[in-house]
Amino acid sequence: MKAFKEFVRKEIYHISRDYRTLFVLLGMPIAQLIIFGFAIRTEISEADIGIFDKSKDHVTQKIIDKIVSSGHFKLTEYIESPEDMEKSFRAGKVKQIIVFEENFAHKLGRGSAQVQIINDASDPNVAKILNMYASTIILDFLKGFNQNGMAGNIVIAPQPRMMYNPEMRSVYMFVPGLIVLILMLVSALMTSVAITKEKEKGTLEVLLVSPLRPQTIIIGKVIPYLLLSLFNAATVLVLSRAIFGVPFKGSMLDFAIVTVIFILVALGIGIVISTISKTQQTALMISLAGLLMPTVLLSGFIFPIENMPWALQLFSKVIPATWYLIILKAIMLKGLSFGYFWQETLVLIGFMIFLLTVANKKFKVRLE
């Protein structure tokens, strides 16, 4: 036991002496949290638009005023010719141009007038949303304009209600994702690199000839990383709650149980990677390209899985992070308990048993 303690101590020295790596490990999650929390907004506000008003009368002016005062748009360009429209789009000055036809007020008074909403659809989603904003405002205007009971004033009003995240803040979704990423990063990537480093430097041989059992060596090596990742995850949890008010609706116990299972999965992956790679470089490459990239991209962390082609959807199912993320969101945002996610938990346990068995076998094989 004393030897074991010394071993863990040595590992902690390694980690704390390499302050650049430590800075990245501790700084990255916090930086990301701040970016997701403050910088990345899903709501589109003050989008730059242009107006091409061929009529310039009191009605078009009223509509323009209404559009500008809505908060969704910022009028940056007055456009005078069709050629200018192209130019403004190409130079990225506007995302939308609203075109009023000639004699707008006059035509409207006689029945119908036309307005064109031209969107820069190089970003399709923004285009669609801005188009929706603009047409809503114009229709709304019409409702007020036709006081004399025309069809326009019977409007079915959609009453949206946003569940779990009323303000639609992206930080809600990213906090569980960040926790997954941190656990993966520290438990799997750092572990694989640290073990491979000992291998590369020849110090692993020295350890293996010591009276310590191989399993003890591995456990000794991974414990500091485990502590570091738990600390890291806790920091994100506390900061997200203190600064951004991200809720934690479910039970801490459920969270702890599932998290420990997931950490064991991640450690298993890390050990398996270390047994198949000869150099730190390889370990790092496998971990970054084969582990972190899929975790970030395909687990539903940033991009919704339902939108992906079926092949990628299928692939996302063999990524442990996908399952953990589902559970984490259910606990934190929805406040659900095991009754709802026992299947996902079983899948995770399956991953854990499989990976730890493989890791144990692989490591023993290396000894003989």
Binding site: A31, R41, Q116, D123, L139, I154, S170
Partner: protein, 373 residues
């Protein structure tokens, strides 16, 4: 000049020998453009929805039909119990619940405005926003046409009011891949350039050859140019490779001048490579430099407007975006490829990148020293 050639030759020989690196250089663009472009889609389709039609009238049926006919929504359940509907969202069976109130049809005939409730799972805020706008668009459409028909307003009067025509320029089909593919190309060029450059010096440091090079009469600028030139060539080759892939796979339009595109990429790569070099000269081990390069890249990427528009970021983040070379390159690629922007329409980005290149080149050469203090 001759010395530069010797270093370039050596770098290429070493690269040729490094099978793993070669694989990465060739496979990475393929994987990125195949997987990333498909994975990073915020395109909305097949949104699962539970219908709670409490009115059960012909009109409410028509509204529901509008949703299914749009192609964006699929109904995965229908219930009259609010509790059941809520459970559907809890268990992720549906993203949205559409609740049509009792008396919906009656209200319409009575010229009252009935409310329709949309309950949306907003864990993912941006998807929720998009679902809301699609659903609202459908309801608005319903307002304009169906209601009028129900009320039997005579033909000429259908045109009463303002006729709104919407146009989607540069991407009529609203194909999300057109938007993402140029962005992923920007990531590709950045990753390759940044990682190769950030490993360059520190690798020689670790294996010890840097000392040997430092006692040779080779000049500082020769060494740096010789080291970076191969990566610069590789970066441009990757860009060409990537352009071919996105044309073949996704048929992304190339509206603008490819020459202009490569010119801008050449400048951008200088910025990326010198940043990588700076990381490399300040790190002690390859592991460190890789972590730092990765850290910087993730931060730059998230703030680059690749996934979320810079316009809707807060003021300070928009200021930071001006300092973010990736943001400019993403914008350049999209502008030239999709909108056919000419030199005058990317000149602002050009000057910013130029200034950046001057500063980072100066910093990285200043930081690299043949003689230590």
């Amino acid at each position: 000049m001759r010395n530069i050639r010797h270093i370039v030759k050596k770098e290429f020989t070493q690269l040729r020998r490094n099978k793993q690196m070669l694989q990465i250089i060739i496979v990475l663009p393929l994987i990125q453009l195949l997987i990333l472009v498909n994975a990073t889609t915020f395109e909305l389709k097949d949104v699962t929805m539970i219908v709670s039609d409490l009115d059960k009238s012909a009109t409410s049926g028509r509204l529901v039909e509008r949703f299914t006919a749009s192609g964006y929504f699929i109904i995965t359940g229908s219930t009259e119990s609010a509790e059941h509907a809520a459970k559907g969202i809890d268990s992720s069976k549906a993203k949205m619940i559409l609740i049509i109130p009792n008396g919906f049809e009656r209200d319409i005939y009575g010229k009252l405005s009935p409310d329709v409730q949309l309950i949306i799972n907003a864990e993912d805020g941006s998807a929720a926003g998009l679902i809301q706008s699609y659903a609202s668009a459908i309801i608005m459409d319903f307002n304009q046409s169906i209601v009028r028909k129900i009320m039997r307003i005579p033909e000429p009067e259908i045109n009463q009011g303002i006729e709104i025509r919407d146009r989607y320029w540069y991407n009529e089909e609203l194909d999300y891949k057109f938007y993402m593919a140029p962005g992923i190309l920007a990531i590709l060029v950045t990753i390759i350039g940044l990682f190769l450059a950030s490993m360059s010096i520190v690798r020689e440091k670790e294996i010890g050859t840097i000392e040997q090079l430092n006692v040779t009469p080779i000049r500082k600028h020769e060494f740096i140019i010789g080291k970076l030139l191969p990566f610069w060539i590789i970066g441009l080759a990757e860009l060409a490779f990537g352009l071919i892939i996105i044309k073949l796979l996704y048929d992304v339009p190339f509206e603008g001048s490819i020459l202009l595109l490569f010119g801008m990429a050449a400048l951008y790569l200088i910025v990326v490579l010198t940043i990588g070099l700076l990381i490399s000269t300040t790190s002690e081990t390859q592991q460190q430099s890789m972590f730092i390069a990765w850290f910087i890249m993730v931060i730059f990427l998230l703030m680059s407007g690749l996934f979320t528009p810079i316009d809707s970021m807060p003021g300070w983040a928009q200021v930071l975006a001006v300092l973010n070379p990736i943001a400019h390159f993403v914008e350049i690629l999209r502008r030239i490829l999709l909108k056919g922007a000419g030199p005058s329409e990317v000149q602002a980005q050009f000057f910013i990148l130029l200034a950046y290149a001057v500063v980072t080149t100066f910093l990285s050469t200043w930081r690299y020293r043949k003689v230590s203090g």
